[in-house]
Amino acid sequence: MADSANAPKPSSSVKLVLLGEAAVGKSSLVLRFVNNDFQENKEPTIGAAFLTQKCNLPTRTIKFEIWDTAGQERFASLAPMYYRNAQAALVVYDLTKPTSLVKAKHWVAELQRQASPGIVIALVGNKLDLTNDGAGSGAAESGDDSGDARKITTEEAKTYAEEEGLLFFETSAKTGYNVTEVFTAIANAIPETSLKSARGPGASHAAGRTEEQRVNLNGPRDPNAKEGCAC
């Protein structure tokens, strides 16, 4: 349903991949973003999961095609298939687990080496509810005596993100804090030019129909198309 009476906004798809150590909350972030839901004991991802969600910006609609990868080491071989041609990556670590930032840095380095040159990368420290900064009640339930399970300071991660030119957020998939913000920031950071099929002058009038040259296999396939002639 259009909320404006005018022509529909241009819409484009963005391929996004989530990477990060096992159990940092990748699937939980996606579940929050896509279904606004949270599961206390989420199953580890096997292989990978695919989901989509739209993000409405003032001037355009972005349809995220999200590849949620499994963090367990035995699935590591999969990653190249997912970040190949991806326009965005969300590299997630757990604020309460130092090794997870080390792993995140490995992923960032691999993306910078192997992924598309223009890929937008966001570094995300998750489980903020388990820290004193947790926007919500999580800290009290974390079982940590000090009430603060944080092991990675905001400064440390933020400095690193700035050096590497990454977007940076601390989130809680549990409370939902900052989750939509991450995806909106990514949507805004994707250069307009990489959304259009760069096709030279003739096609520039079609800015609003970014996928017009793609052949649609599900379109009005003509079962009677025959002999290649209109006679």
Partner: protein, 498 residues
């Protein structure tokens, strides 16, 4: 599926190699609920059908550079050359060069399977546009020119490239092919079924040499001597595929490296279905075990499986093709024009040098055609402003020289000044697969044939995959379930504006 360690699991199938056949098998079996371990000795996906960045291409070429194989491989004699001024070359990763680019006809069973398995949603397809031949000049001083082949009846009607008499002949032939299987028409070609198509065209349709080359080019016959029966079937496929997915084109090409992309998309879908993936891991040894066989992997792991499926990994040295991939510093725009109202802009164009139209320095004329597949930057295989050419000819002692010549002549025939420059070349030879040596576990180990040389996707490739699926599914196999899967969550709400 529970999370267990590699060696504690009894796998239904271990699949080795990530070329198209193995990847489609992984997709079909994992989504049909089977426990799949999918490995590849290479550090990249796609096997003999991979697509490479320049860096990956260099690493690969170094591993198959000698005429005699260092390790089992379908490839040999690979070399990379970068002409002098390579400043125009972009980042290595801005390229995705396909080892085995194939176009896919709209009527191909592969597309039906991609649609029914919903994997097609992850692939961007581009239209394959016009077919051209490079016409040799009547006087040696004149330049070669490109002539677009009229391949539909409308096309034939409107072209100014051929005489009225030739038009009539061509029309008659196209009409014949449309119904080539009806009794009356069969009578005409069946006696010549095994003779070369060009002879049939000459004798039965009185076509001159030029018209014959038009038709032969449409068949993409590697040696130019395709048999009448097969050739007619291919032309029929061309005509009946025209317009199926939109006006003005008969075939499509997957963005980002063709078949390689379909293999990767299949692996991704396989992973979503629960298959476990390991790159850089091959099979060191096999032995019989209680429930099937035990495999020793190069990683040192030992795994148990009910069945092993792999591909022919070693090439014969008697039948092969030579390929030359060239990155060109021009978009070669005029090749990629939609010629029919409402048609999408094509990402691929096809050009042929007919047999006999090239000559080596030693004076040997080319016995076979040289095909040039031109890919625009829309394929994602090169940056904007450039294009990639894929040249193919049967491997002979002369083939490398002929491909270099074809490239040079092609670039000077496109009518651009200055003549577009080639920025990067990869040359290699690809051989047919050799039946793997027998082992003690043959009834549980199946090998898929090596990829065919065909320049268009060959549907018979799909048969062994379906066969293995049926065998693994056993009693529970329901033929109509093959590759028929529902959409994954959220994938179906296609581009509806909120």
């Amino acid at each position: 599926m529970a999370v267990e360690s590699l060696s504690d699991t009894l796998w239904d199938v271990v699949i080795c190699g990530t070329g198209l056949s193995q990847s489609l098998l992984a997709l079909s079996l994992s989504r049909s609920g089977k426990n799949i371990l999918h490995i590849d000795p290479n550090e990249y996906y796609g096997g003999a059908e991979a697509a490479f960045s320049l860096q990956e291409a260099e690493k690969w070429a170094a591993s198959v550079s000698t005429p005699e194989a260092q390790a089992p491989s379908l490839f040999k004699s690979a070399s990379i050359t970068k002409p002098e001024n390579v400043e125009d070359l972009s980042f290595p990763r801005a390229y995705s060069l396909a080892l085995a680019p194939q176009l896919i006809y709209a009527r191909s069973e592969l597309l039906s399977q991609l649609v029914s398995s919903r994997a097609y949603r992850q692939v961007d397809f581009l239209a394959v546009g016009s077919f051209f031949i490079v016409k040799s000049p009547s006087a040696p001083s004149e330049p070669r020119t490109l002539v677009r082949i009229p391949s539909t009846r409308e096309d034939v009607f409107s072209t100014s490239a051929i005489s009225v008499k030739a038009k009539r002949g061509l029309m008659k032939f196209l009409k014949f092919v449309v119904d080539f299987d009806n009794p009356e028409n069969s009578e005409k070609w069946k006696p010549h079924a095994q003779n070369p198509l060009f002879e049939f065209l000459q004798d039965q349709f009185k076509m001159d040499t030029e018209l014959q080359t038009y038709i032969i080019t449409l068949t993409l016959s590697l040696d130019g001597r395709i048999e009448t029966k097969e050739g007619l079937a291919i032309i029929h496929r061309h005509l009946s595929s025209m317009g199926v997915y939109g006006p003005g084109f008969a075939a499509i090409y997957p963005k980002w490296g063709g078949i390689s992309e379909i293999a990767q998309v299949s692996c991704r879908a396989g992973a979503v279905g629960g298959a476990v993936y390991m790159l850089g891991t091959g099979i060191k040894g096999t032995s019989a075990a209680d429930d099937g066989m035990e495999l020793e992997l190069t990683s040192g792991d030992k795994v148990k499986t009910r069945m092993l499926v792999r591909g022919y990994e070693d090439g014969t040295r008697d039948a092969g093709i030579s390929r030359l991939v060239a990155v060109i510093g021009s978009p070669l725009k005029f090749l990629f024009e939609a010629v029919v109202e409402g048609a999408p802009i094509p990402g691929v164009a096809i050009v042929a040098f007919p047999a006999g139209s090239l000559t080596t320095a030693a004076g040997n004329a080319s016995a076979s055609p040289v095909y040039v597949f031109a890919h625009s930057s829309d394929t994602g295989e090169c940056p904007t402003g450039q294009s990639v050419l894929y040249l193919t000819a049967p491997a002979t002692p002369d083939s490398k020289e002929l491909l270099d010549k074809a490239l040079e002549f092609f670039l000077s025939s496109v009518g651009e000044t200055p003549v577009p420059q080639s920025l990067y070349h990869v040359y290699y030879e690809q051989y047919a697969g050799m039946t793997p040596p027998a082992s003690g576990t043959d009834d549980l180990a199946i090998s898929f044939p090596a990829p065919s040389f065909s320049l268009s996707f060959d549907d018979t490739t799909l048969d062994p995959v379906r066969g293995v699926w049926k065998r693994v599914m056993g009693e529970t196999a329901i033929e109509t379930d093959y590759m028929a899967f529902p959409d994954r969550e959220g994938a179906a709400d296609d581009d509806i504006y909120d």
